[in-house]
Symmetry: C2
Subunit: 337 residues, 2 copies
């Protein structure tokens, strides 16, 4: 464990998580996170000449893998930290995941959410008993604001991806997948801040060391691929893509070195390919998958020829899509407005 | 087994199936039909004060439970019958189920489908290698036409529900559910011609004799409820409902006596309730469920107060809904056209 840490450059005061952290996280989330099903599709297999294994985190609690990392992070706090409570910033699934984890683990969550966040999302987060602090996303620096509140009130800050316990928690999805399927030849994982990909890489490196793991980004936001090529974290402007969970501008101080060490490559897909995968999931696999959740599948379908006859895992990360937007994507003639 | 048959009125030359037929069917479909997952929803449980167990046949091959009965029926044929081939009539899932089962079991399927059936459906059925015979649904009697073709060419007719092997095959879904959950207090099952309900009743009567099993019809087509009240098979005009799988006009000669003997009651739901359940499945459980597949859930939600704190099974029968229609149902402001 120490050896693994020392092989990597120390970029941060926080230590890098490893496989043992993923395994410990699996013990913590067991019975709290759903053990989501691995779905098969004869149609996908026949069409692409590959055996696909879809790990369906759209069926996770809260509708996304984010619950795993949030729960593991809150469950890893000391009793004193838990007494004080936690704080997080997120406009997406991480906020609700922290709110739910805090409620289940009997601690108090404060969440910074943009004042223009959808009312339904604010309501859902409040429904889990969390305190909401809204901010103006165009005028205020949410990270600085969160840090200030954390310092003032002694709250434990749990960021959405760059945190050892969050990364380890996200890795439990791939761990369950390998437990169920055995080694795979390739695994495709969506890439935003890198929490899910880094966690998956830690699981794969031990459980399926020959498995080629790919990170998948939206074409409009390929900072991860650029970073891998440059050998340092590259920051880009906020990308315009329907994959709202991958609108991150840069990888994390913890996620990047793990990705750099273990990933086979980082590939990209277009928004049109995401819509194609979303329609495939709805039409043939009867699943609602959010655009970000389609990244891995879109790339796996695209790269299928290279994996002909092989066993390929696809991490379907979540299903939290606004129903109206989902309906528009499914319609053959989407409304102009 | 004989005793069970003799307790029931003999209404037909075909013998009534019983639990042993369901168990034998389970052996036949094992490894061919998917063992579909039983999904849970904390939201549904909390909202209704009930522990729900959703048996998800929308994830079945072909997207519906129909594959179970079709496969069991074709697999139960004698070698001579299989050499001749099978014939079936259906505008819906049964046609594709028979076509796929025939291909898997190396026999030839002829299918009568209305000439105005959706091109996609005709194409899909043809894609399984079946021969398609189209007919004018307004001028021709499809049942008589099918029988004539069967007689002329020595084909084995497999009707969509009123057949012992079809009923027994459909019963394997409930059998798997009880195997996974243990006895339940109540089970809701959609009701069209009665194949799925009759099969489920046979499974429940042996595996969970105290379980109250309900058939669920669209309000516009309550011939089953009327039949139960009248003590005889009541025929109604083709009902207008979005539950296209339950647009049947009467129960079967085999399904009715089984339903009459074992069902707790037959209840109805409105199309608006079906849309509500369809939205719930998409939004909270991330599943695509066709309107007919929402019948059981809509009734289970409606009747939840009676089952407070209890364990309630819901048979989600299928997910084969046209994407455009599905998108319209999900939209808060459905287009006027």
């Amino acid at each position: 464990m120490l050896a693994a840490i020392h092989r990597l450059p120390i970029l941060t005061a926080m230590r890098l998580p490893d496989f043992y952290d993923v395994r410990a996280a699996a013990g913590r989330v067991a019975g709290h996170a759903h053990r989501t099903p691995v779905m098969r599709s004869t149609t996908a297999d026949t069409r692409h000449g590959v055996q696909f294994f879809f790990k369906c985190e759209n069926f996770q609690r809260m509708g996304a893998f984010k619950f795993r990392g949030a729960y593991n992070a809150v469950a890893s706090l000391t009793p004193a930290q838990r007494d004080n409570g936690v704080i997080a910033f997120s406009s997406g699934n991480h906020a609700q995941a922290i709110a739910l984890a805090a409620r289940l683990l009997d601690t108090r969550a404060t969440l910074l959410m943009p004042s223009d966040a959808p009312a339904a999302k604010l309501e859902a987060t409040r429904g889990y008993g969390a305190a909401i602090v809204t901010y103006d996303r165009f005028r205020e620096d949410r990270q600085a604001l969160t840090q200030r509140l954390a310092d003032e009130h002694g709250l434990e800050l749990i960021p959405p991806y760059d945190h050892p316990a969050v990364i380890a928690g996200q890795g439990t999805a791939a761990l369950e997948l390998f437990e169920e399927t055995g080694p795979l030849d390739a695994l495709f994982v969506c890439l935003g801040g890198g929490g899910l990909l880094a966690g998956s890489l830690l699981a794969a490196a031990t459980l399926a060391p020959d498995c080629a793991v790919y990170g998948v980004e939206p074409q409009a936001g390929d900072d991860g691929r650029q970073s891998l090529r440059a050998g340092r974290i590259v920051t880009i402007p906020v990308p315009r893509t329907i994959a709202d969970g991958a609108m991150t501008t840069h990888l994390g101080q913890l996620t990047f070195p793990i990705i750099q060490q273990h990933v086979r490559d980082i590939v990209t897909v277009t928004d049109a390919q995401l819509v194609g995968a979303m329609r495939f999931f709805a039409e043939r696999m009867k699943m609602v998958v959010e655009p970000t959740g389609c990244l891995a599948a879109a790339a796996a379908f695209e790269h299928a020829p290279r994996w002909h006859g092989k066993r390929v895992g696809v991490l379907v990360s979540g299903g939290n899509v606004d129903l109206a937007a989902f309906a528009r994507a499914l319609s053959e003639d989407p409304p102009a407005n």
